[in-house]
Symmetry: C2
Subunit: 652 residues, 2 copies
């Protein structure tokens, strides 16, 4: 009997232990939980543990997700017009998209990187690059809005970007497509030896984050693919993978895959900084734009810059070396200690790891195997830290945890392979579905990774989610990496095509997130501080409406005296001062978009009425029980009309 009791009790205990995850009072990520469902579930009222910022790729924007839930909290418009908020359509934000090529309302956004202090994420800003029409943008992580975009002159395919140095001294932008520098009309077949690949360094103001182009290194005309900064011992250096060292200009899939090894370029930016500070470098005429958003004025301005300081790397001794790396290397990743530089040759099975210590020693001992356009090529064997015999195919990118492990994605064999730094031993591998590109561990590109999760970003989704016709979203997969073996937790679709991501603990940002814009700080020249200041002014054919909005009316809401042929500027100030009470403004037939205006903010859209009549406007964001009543009319008279301007609220 005693044993029966014991047996029952033991069974009971086992059942309780096995099923502890079901205990609703246990933490959602409690150690007892073995269920993937429980691990990714964030119950209503609870919040995610990590922010993840995923590049949108061809969307031109940056998306903000929570981990472990995989829920998208915001799409931040950066390089693309965004009808949802009016970005790129309002008068205040149109300057953000100015370039030396004119107004360019789209880009291919890659590679987010969070600002760092002492090699650790400091959560102040996030930088991203526009690949197509070369630009770097900075997003303020208190407002989650794009506040600065600067063009990259002499560049084409701004791909080995936008990574920051250990104290955010610089953000870097590298050319993928070599071009003539300066641009000129020449035969494409004469590319070899005549094109350049510019590596551009922007100085970041430590207080404001403002970027200024410090110098541009004019490298040989290879394709500079990816980059990462040195850190720790290798702080002061920057590493860039190259491919197409063949300098082919056509059928690149064949012609750029001839060389057995391409290079990682190791660039000592501190040496170049000292060189230019001492008056080195050559000023070259150029033209590029610098667009800055002023949060107090709620508007952006564009400035054209006409000169760039260029540096010939062969004129700065000891500044640049080439590290031979098999085979058409793509990812260029530096481990948290700064000792290892990982080059993923996308046409190989193995991952090549260079040792920074060995590199320095090879430089000191002049272990060169030649030079390329005057830049020393270091001896491959002399610098090799190790090679990971992965068993996979098509390595692309590597991230790191805090335990000395590296995680490399393999595009062709569709997997994430975990291996040990130093021993190069493969310790785990997990399949991805399918064709994984980048991966991200929060802080995985810093001295302090938060190695709880890895997010794999996959390129192909077919049959993975409910089908949506020929066009599908890409897909992320979340793995728990807190144990020895990776555990696949969930799939979630991504918006646009993520090329890299950056993540950080929620605690780093959530306390600093701004809730409203203070109305009293609003210095927009067309802002109105009170409904009493609202008015309509005519200046020739230009009409300026100074309007305010608050639950649930516009002031004014009846306007007369507008004529066909007028250009009407609606400058609208949201007088709410509560969190999450935006209002919108839409005008029938406007050839732009609506505007979504946050509390305390002013935005402007232009409307050019084409026909006489009485035309409505309304609030586009359901703001109160009387939202549907938040509407008004504008009377438009013929161009020849003599009706005076008038405006009112509540006067029938």
């Amino acid at each position: 009997m005693r044993s029966l009791i014991k047996g029952l009790a033991a069974t009971c205990l086992a059942a309780i232990i096995l099923t502890a995850c079901n205990n609703q009072s246990s933490s959602k990520n409690g150690a007892l939980s073995s269920s993937a469902a429980e691990k990714v579930y964030v119950a209503p009222g609870e919040q995610d543990d990590f922010y993840a910022f995923l590049s949108g790729g061809y969307s031109g924007n940056l998306t903000v997700y929570g981990l472990p839930s995989g829920r998208m909290f915001k799409e931040i418009p950066v390089f693309s017009q965004f009808p949802t908020s009016g970005y790129g359509y309002t008068e205040e934000t149109k300057p953000m998209l100015n370039t030396s090529f004119g107004f360019v309302p789209w880009d291919d956004l890659h590679h987010p990187d969070i600002s760092q202090t002492n090699g650790e994420l400091d959560g102040r800003w996030i930088f991203v690059n526009g690949n197509n029409t070369p630009r770097i943008a900075r997003i303020d992580l208190t407002t989650f809005e794009t506040v600065e975009i600067i063009e990259v002159p002499n560049c084409a395919g701004n791909h080995s970007s936008s990574y920051v140095t250990e104290n955010t001294e610089y953000v870097v932008a590298g050319t993928r497509f070599a071009v003539p520098v300066p641009q000129r009309d020449m035969a494409i077949k004469d590319k070899k030896g005549n094109f350049k690949g510019a590596l551009t360094f922007y100085k970041v103001d430590p207080e404001t984050g403002h970027m200024n182009l410090a110098f541009q290194v004019l490298m040989p005309g290879f394709d500079y693919d990816k980059a990462h900064p040195g850190r720790g011992n290798s702080h002061g250096w920057f590493f860039f993978t190259t491919y197409n060292t063949e300098e082919a200009s056509t059928l690149m899939e064949v012609n750029a895959s001839q060389n057995d090894k391409d290079f990682i370029a190791a660039l000592n930016w501190q040496k170049i900084e000292a060189y230019v500070n001492a008056g080195g470098g050559t000023k070259m005429p150029t033209s590029y734009m610098h667009n800055v958003y002023d949060e107090t004025k709620h508007m952006a301005t564009s400035t054209t810059i006409t000169e760039v300081l260029t540096v010939d790397p062969t004129e700065v001794p000891g500044a640049v070396y080439f590290l031979p790396t098999p085979k058409s290397p793509h990812g260029c990743d530096v481990d948290p200690t700064g000792e290892y530089i990982v080059g993923s040759g996308k046409l190989s099975a193995d991952v090549t790891v260079h040792s920074f210590t060995k590199m320095m020693s090879a430089i000191e001992n002049e272990k060169f195997s030649g030079n390329a356009y005057g830049i020393p090529i270091l001896d491959y064997e002399a610098i090799l830290g190790g090679s990971v015999k992965s068993g996979g195919l098509g390595p692309l990118h590597t991230e790191f945890d805090a335990e000395g492990n590296a995680y490399t994605t393999f595009f062709i064999s569709s997997e994430v392979v975990k291996w040990k730094l130093g021993t190069w031993e493969v310790v785990d591998r997990k399949p991805t579905f399918y064709s994984v590109g980048h991966l991200m561990i929060p802080g995985g590109n810093s001295r302090k990774p938060f190695g709880k999760y890895v997010v794999a970003m996959n390129k192909i989704t077919k049959d993975r989610y409910l089908p949506t016709g020929p066009e599908l979203e890409h897909s992320a997969q979340l793995y728990d990496i807190s144990g020895d073996k990776m555990q696949l937790l969930s799939d979630f679709p991504t918006h646009g095509e993520p090329h890299y991501a950056a993540g950080c603990p929620a605690e780093l940002l959530k306390g600093n997130s701004k809730k409203i814009y203070k109305l009293e700080d609003n210095k927009h020249p067309y802002a109105v501080m009170s409904p009493a200041d609202t008015r309509v002014e005519r200046n020739g054919n230009e009409v300026h409406v100074y309007m305010s909005m608050i639950r649930s009316h516009f002031t004014p809401d009846n306007i007369e005296g507008i004529k066909v042929g007028d250009k009407v500027y609606f400058h609208i100030t949201n007088h709410e001062q509560d969190f999450d009470v935006p209002h919108g403004f839409a005008m029938i037939g406007a050839n732009t978009s609506e505007v979504l205006i946050m509390p305390g903010q002013t935005k402007t859209i232009v409307w050019q009425p084409k026909k006489p009549g009485v035309w409505p406007f309304y609030c586009t964001d359901f703001c109160s029980a009387l939202h549907q009543e938040m509407q008004g009319y504008v009377r438009v008279s013929p161009a020849s009309s003599n009706i005076d301007l008038s405006w009112s609220l509540g006067e029938d």
Copy 2:
């Protein structure tokens, strides 16, 4: 001792029952599962049970989610430019956004409705309305792409839209903001009695889905807010809520809230159809656009239509009645049987339900309490089916399950209230976080609801998710309604602001979802069927590039002979015929966006080079291990150059 054993065994059993959800082998939605986490978790490799199509509101687009996971699978561009795919930027899709006001690249998208046959969802198309610049769009549910947009003339604030009748005979579009019809220059204060509210009926071709404006009923100048069709016994009728029957034109939050009751307009469209078929109605000159996308040609064309058939409702006996409804009613919802018309007076606590049987009887017995502009007002008591004493505040919208229950959202008291049709008894209520607007049960607007889940769409998110600065996404909440009591399962953010949604079982759509466009069916005039047909042709300053793309190159990839001042059309055909292998095309400095081209498809973007030089283009969608090599160059010579056009691939 025996009792001790019994006690232990009972405890054990209880533990096992309580924790059965932890059984990894049980179905993810198995009856034994009581865990919300398990209920919303869709394991990698499994698929969601339902599609949910959420309106994007001010995004101008429609989003596709899976339920129960809450994951967003696609954003379908409808009324807004969409840099992600090039919609609204390509030559083929720009016509989709043409209107009588010119090119309008944005709208406020509301109220998706899936096509029906015999009152049940048939999953062929989904209709949505543009609120601001009045338009109706049709999306093909085999491609999940927008294939038709038609303007609504004489309308402003196209809000009581875009609902379909029981066999998709018609899709309806109703005016929210009364305007002069036809538009004319007049004083706003003279609105009362002089403005109209047009209710427009588009005939839907049962084979192709093509819409044609059949007739437009010119109603009194109230605000027509929401609508739903009759079904079952009430098939042949359409119901529209009105507010602002005061016909105020300013400070509407006060002036449009004076009347104790406004109306639901009941419109017998079969009677009006018969009337116009017999030659009734008045043709009015107007101008509106009809944009149709041809899937075979992969391009849209716009047609201007210059006439509309209008109907004066007082000239069609028995066609239109007003049903008095307290108080500024918003939602207008018809139950699955067609017997009950639910009007949610947003300024009241109670929900008013009209009986169709009683309405017909009141009409027959001429139980009128007056008329409005010649339209009979039915006696309130005579038609009242019942009133739900909700205890809530601010009822907005109601959906239905298949068990005779209704679910109403309350914006002010932030809750979903479940009540019984017929008894009007409140049987459950659950809070929402916060300020719920619409709700959706898959099929909940049809004769056959699938009452497993209800999705509540909330307007305010603050403190619900990790903060993202002043601008936050809105939020949906998913409730399990398969039991007597609703169970909150999860929160998920929504993209844009959902105004209604439509859902259906995955099985209805997934088998019909198109995977690729067959290249052999491609009738685009600039398509190339093989790389041998690629070429570049000049016609004055216009240059047409007939280009093809396949992993991993463009044909041609070197082009010379382009000059500054040229307008270069890149017509690019994707020669892939595998699912989920799109390619993209981006050209440095192009003032549009890239294009994302699906297998078998052709798209065109224009580039106007401004400076001589050698300029790169590349694929924007990571398509193979050699994606980075999928690039090319265009040489641009000065305008005065004599260099002939030439193009090549693989010839150095």
